[in-house]
């Protein structure tokens, strides 16, 4: 492993860099008091994750991820925050014990998660690595072949969500 690390430093460094950015920004999402900042940090996190996707050979997914999350969802978030005029930190502070408890239990979660996954049997990569899985062509065949029905169902879900959002958002419902 160490030889690999020496031999191919570029991707390794990219991994470290992206991970560092993602981790830091994620913390900032939670830590910053201004909601707008939070969302902006979240966007950076998403970009970092998209970078990971690229590293992992999932190019199409990376693109979609940016379009959907950073492009659509986060804009929606910002839009709503702006609309509500929440750009300042309006929230009163939670009790300090509660914060400790939250952080504590989160750490507990982390430990258990890591422990659980560590206990899993050693993973070995599939022998011939197929670099083409992340290509549109491949994804398309899988999506419209094996997962055609769930795909259609998810479209209904989206439609329902859309209708629901409009219905809820309407000002006065008779």
């Amino acid at each position: 492993m160490s030889t690999l690390l020496l031999n191919i430093p570029v991707t390794q460094y990219m991994f470290y860099f992206l991970s560092f950015v993602a981790f830091l920004c994620a913390i900032m999402v939670v830590a910053s008091k201004n909601p707008i900042h939070s969302i902006l940090y979240l966007i950076i996190t998403f970009f970092a994750i998209a970078g990971h996707y690229l590293l992992l050979n999932a190019q199409f997914l990376a693109v979609v991820h940016i379009i959907v999350y950073a492009g659509a969802i986060m804009v929606l978030f910002l839009y709503v925050i702006m609309m509500m005029n929440l750009n300042e930190d309006t929230e009163s502070h939670k009790h300090i014990y509660l914060k400790f408890a939250a952080v504590g239990s989160a750490l507990l979660l982390l430990i258990t998660l890591v422990a659980a996954l560590k206990g899993a049997e050693k993973l070995t990569a599939a022998a011939p690595l197929n670099t083409n899985v992340g290509l549109i062509k491949n994804l398309g065949t899988t999506l419209f072949g094996e997962y055609l029905f769930p795909f259609e169902v998810s479209s209904i879900l989206l439609l329902a969500a859309m209708v629901g959002a409009i219905m809820i958002g309407k000002k006065d419902i008779k």
Binding site: L54, L56, L109, T131
Partner: protein, 111 residues
């Protein structure tokens, strides 16, 4: 070109690192959900958690050379989008009525 670059990425980085990263992101998300009171930030934290899972899925997908996991990521995205759309609509509705999205204020269900 990219293929070569990325092929080496998955070989060079053991899967455990991805696991660790996703776990960390997931935990941060959970932490945010737990101690923030602003409903929108809670939403954002949930998104973070979802993305942590997505990341793990993609990592395993590459590892096993299996496209299915990436398809699942699509579905998760779809669900996340739906959730955000409805959730934010509800929040704006609540804000319109209660003038707050502080979850501690929203404890009407109790009674």
């Amino acid at each position: 070109m990219t293929g070569i670059l990325l092929q080496s990425a998955i070989i060079s980085t053991p899967i455990e690192w991805y696991i660790l990263l996703s776990a960390a992101l997931f935990t941060i998300g959970a932490c945010g959900v737990m101690f923030k009171r602003n409903a929108i930030i809670i939403f954002a934290s949930v998104e973070l958690m979802l993305n942590a899972v997505n990341l793990l899925l993609v990592a395993f997908s590459s590892y096993h050379s299996d496209a299915s996991a990436q398809v699942f990521v699509f579905f998760i995205m779809a669900v996340a989008a739906a959730e955000v759309a409805v959730g934010l609509a509800i929040l704006s509705m609540i804000y319109r009525n209660v003038k707050s999205i502080d979850i501690d204020v929203l404890s009407k269900l109790r009674h």
